[in-house]
């Protein structure tokens, strides 16, 4: 017999977990004690939410559930935002929290919080472990639930006495949950109808969402687009599923998207949504799509079909498998006129000159993407920096990560740490604003402590830029609570952490910074000074 806390570690080993992110505390100490004896690498973050975001970045690059750990009460509560962030973007996380002793639950003892209750709206599933013997089964189920179907966070809350209980350990080989059977292939009759609609379409359009990464269907989408000559656009979550080099790619749609993508949505006659939930930032109202447009919607989550937009041809299933079925029936087609039309809407970006002592952030990001290696992972924070990155960074073979659904500020630095640990061979660039950077700058210590090499870019305009813009346009220049005066000198901050850095205030410095960012293997910190009047789009 072994202690349940040792069994928990063995469960993680059985799931082939190599790296976990967390922050210890009394109620999770039994587990941490056993973690010391395993080969699993623990990354100590500086705030629990960032442990969750780091696991989020790690999961998105590995494509497998990633583990984050917190203690009971405040530790678990700090993790909540990260759980909700992962839930909104369908990222598979296993969140392990310590809990007070079973017999003390409900008595409001020190560091007690009902975390399974609090997290309920944001988890795919959760467990409050009451019987130590069930732990191996619970871990097996948790990994299965988190990583299959529509992925999402699963929370396992383990009271301290349960962690110390002796159990017979045997990790289940398979998992059987009678109430959970994710769909795989699509309905064949429906696929034939989809094929007919695609064959008859004059102006078909593929819209790729974040679900495509969960299904790893990037190759299939490219193939379909190539063979049937269907132009493609993405949502923000779908960015990097399609290379910006591809002549059939027309950018990101939505309120912050590009003209070619938005007009394409309006003018297409068949809109083929793949793993996209059509959130309000992508398509504001169903009315922005013409009523005559035939909408095909593939999603693994039936609840997403018809939730935000009515689908004429719903197809429930895993995008990769469904697209394979479609590809089996696909024949080469031409849509020359339609593609020519969309090409005519594309325009080379014009980067207006900004006032002295500032640079144009979009030009900087665009130039950076030209210089960085093709497989770079770019992590955008939230705010103007996010939109600048989403629309200006040309992603060819890399990945774009951001908190798309929840829009959680402070996501970029910790997620970049996770992404780098998941694949150390790929450069990782985090792009933040001076607001979002200050929400997680303490994680520079995490990167330094664990030798995680990051490229960090902070766009400083001394304001919460996106909110400021709303106040400018909607509230008639009545600025309130958006000035970031009092911020520290970020270059000094970077050097305090021992990270080389430079400030960019003109074109020449921009060039130099980009050269260092793209050629050095070491961490490098760049602060770009941006005019507060530089708009989001």
């Amino acid at each position: 017999m072994i202690k349940a806390c040792e069994a928990m570690v063995k469960c993680l080993e059985a799931e082939n977990v190599k790296v976990v992110f967390g922050y210890p505390g009394a109620a999770i100490c039994p587990f941490y004690d056993k973690l010391l004896d395993s080969g699993i690498r623990h990354i100590l973050v500086r705030h629990e939410a960032n442990g969750g975001h780091a696991a989020n970045g790690y999961a998105r690059i590995t494509g497998r559930p990633a583990v984050c750990i917190a203690t009971s009460g405040p530790g678990a509560l700090n993790l909540l935002t990260a759980i909700a962030t992962a839930y909104a973007d369908s990222i598979p996380l296993i969140c392990i929290t310590g809990q007070v002793n079973s017999d003390q639950i409900g008595r409001d003892v020190f560091q007690e919080a009902d975390i399974t209750g609090a997290a309920e709206p944001f988890v795919k599933h959760s467990y409050l472990v009451k019987n130590a013997d069930e732990l191996p089964k619970i871990f097996k189920e948790a990994f299965y639930i988190a990583g299959t179907g529509r992925p999402g966070p699963v929370l396992i809350d383990v009271p301290m006495d349960i962690q110390n209980t002796l159990i017979d350990f045997e990790y289940p080989e398979s998992v059987e949950i009678r109430s959970y059977k994710p769909t795989g292939k699509g309905n064949y009759a429906q696929i034939k109808r989809v094929m007919k609609a695609l064959n008859e379409a004059k102006r078909p359009l593929i819209c790729v969402g974040g679900g495509v990464f969960a299904s790893n269907a990037q190759t299939e989408i490219k193939e379909l687009s190539d063979i049937m000559q269907i132009p493609a656009i993405t949502t923000m979550m779908g960015i990097s599923a399609f290379s910006t080099d591809n002549p059939l790619f027309f950018g990101m749609l939505g309120m912050h998207g590009v003209k070619s993508a938005n007009i394409a949505v309006k003018d297409c006659d068949v809109l083929f949504l793949i793993g996209a939930r059509v959130g309000d930032r992508a398509v504001r109202t169903p009315l922005s799509v013409e009523e005559s447009t035939t909408i095909i919607h593939i999603d693994i989550d039936p609840a997403e079909i018809g939730k935000n937009m009515n689908a004429d041809l719903p197809l429930v299933g895993d995008a990769k498998l469904v697209l394979r079925q479609i590809l089996d029936l696909a024949k080469p087609l031409e849509h020359k006129e339609w593609i020519e039309y969309l090409n005519s809407l594309k325009s080379e970006p014009v980067y207006e000159k900004t006032k002295d002592g500032t640079i144009n952030p979009r030009k900087f990001i665009s130039d950076l993407s030209d210089a960085m290696s093709d497989n770079t992972t770019v992590v955008a924070d939230v705010g103007q920096n996010q939109i600048w990155t989403a629309t200006s960074y040309k992603i060819r073979n890399g990945r774009f990560l951001t908190s798309g659904g929840m829009g959680t500020m402070g996501y970029a630095i910790p997620a970049a740490i996770g992404a780098k640990l998941a694949d150390s061979g790929r450069p990782v660039v985090a792009i933040c604003g001076d607001g979002s950077f200050q929400m997680s700058l303490m994680e520079l210590a995490t990167a330094v402590q664990h030798g995680v090499k990051l490229k960090i870019i902070v766009m400083t305009n001394r304001y919460l830029g996106m909110v400021r813009e709303v106040q400018q346009n909607v509230y008639h220049n009545r600025y309130t609570a958006v000035s970031l005066d009092g911020s520290p000198d970020f270059i000094t901050i970077a050097s305090a952490y021992g990270i080389d850095s430079m400030r960019v205030t003109n074109e020449e410095e921009a060039k130099k910074a980009i050269e260092i960012l793209s050629s050095s293997d070491e961490s490098f910190f760049v602060e770009c000074i941006v005019d507060e009047h530089t708009a989001t789009i």
Binding site: T116, G117, P121, Y180, P302
Partner: protein
């Protein structure tokens, strides 16, 4: 429009809060909710009466199905179901009114389950509409207290909602 939804769930702790939480955070309106264990002690059955349009009911069904503990969801059409609720009514009944109340009970199919010097307690298990009628008739006598369960429902005929093959 009222809809009756039958849900089979794993009889785990916390299932009810997952389901009620889902309704409140998605903005679905519940008229009533009744829960109890089935002949299989590992499975509970929940009957929910929802007020909403077709879109709402479809979303309710789909969102319920996403909960891991939910095994089966079925929306029952009003013409294919038998629905009942159980009501206990304590009515004011001084000696000179007892006979009248007993007659009403007999006519409406309510049974008398308790009596005191000043009250009679009625029990009835019937449809919402029939119970409403009884309430209206009994109200002038003075309803002191009323307790009712949520509606439970089962399909007419040989059709069934079970896990058995």
């Amino acid at each position: 429009m009222k809809h009756t939804i039958s849900v089979l769930v794993e009889n785990h702790a916390g299932v009810l809060s997952r389901i009620s939480g889902l309704f409140s955070r998605r903005g679905f309106n519940i008229d009533s909710l009744a829960v109890g264990v089935t002949d299989d002690p590992a499975v509970s059955r929940i009957t929910i009466i929802v007020d909403g349009n077709e879109y709402t009911v479809e979303q309710v069904e789909k969102q319920l199905n996403k909960l891991i503990d939910v095994i089966k969801v079925k929306c029952l059409e009003s013409d294919e179901l038998l629905a009942r609720e159980l009501v206990l009514i304590k009515v004011s009944a001084p000696a000179d009114r007892r006979a009248e109340i007993m007659t009403i009970a007999e006519i409406t199919g309510a049974s008398i389950i308790d009596i005191s010097m000043t009250t009679i307690t009625l029990q009835i298990a019937d449809t919402n509409a029939h119970i409403h009628r009884l309430e209206e008739i009994i109200r002038p006598y003075g309803i002191i207290e009323e307790v009712r369960t949520g509606t439970i429902a089962i399909q007419k005929g040989a059709e069934s909602i079970t896990l058995k093959k």
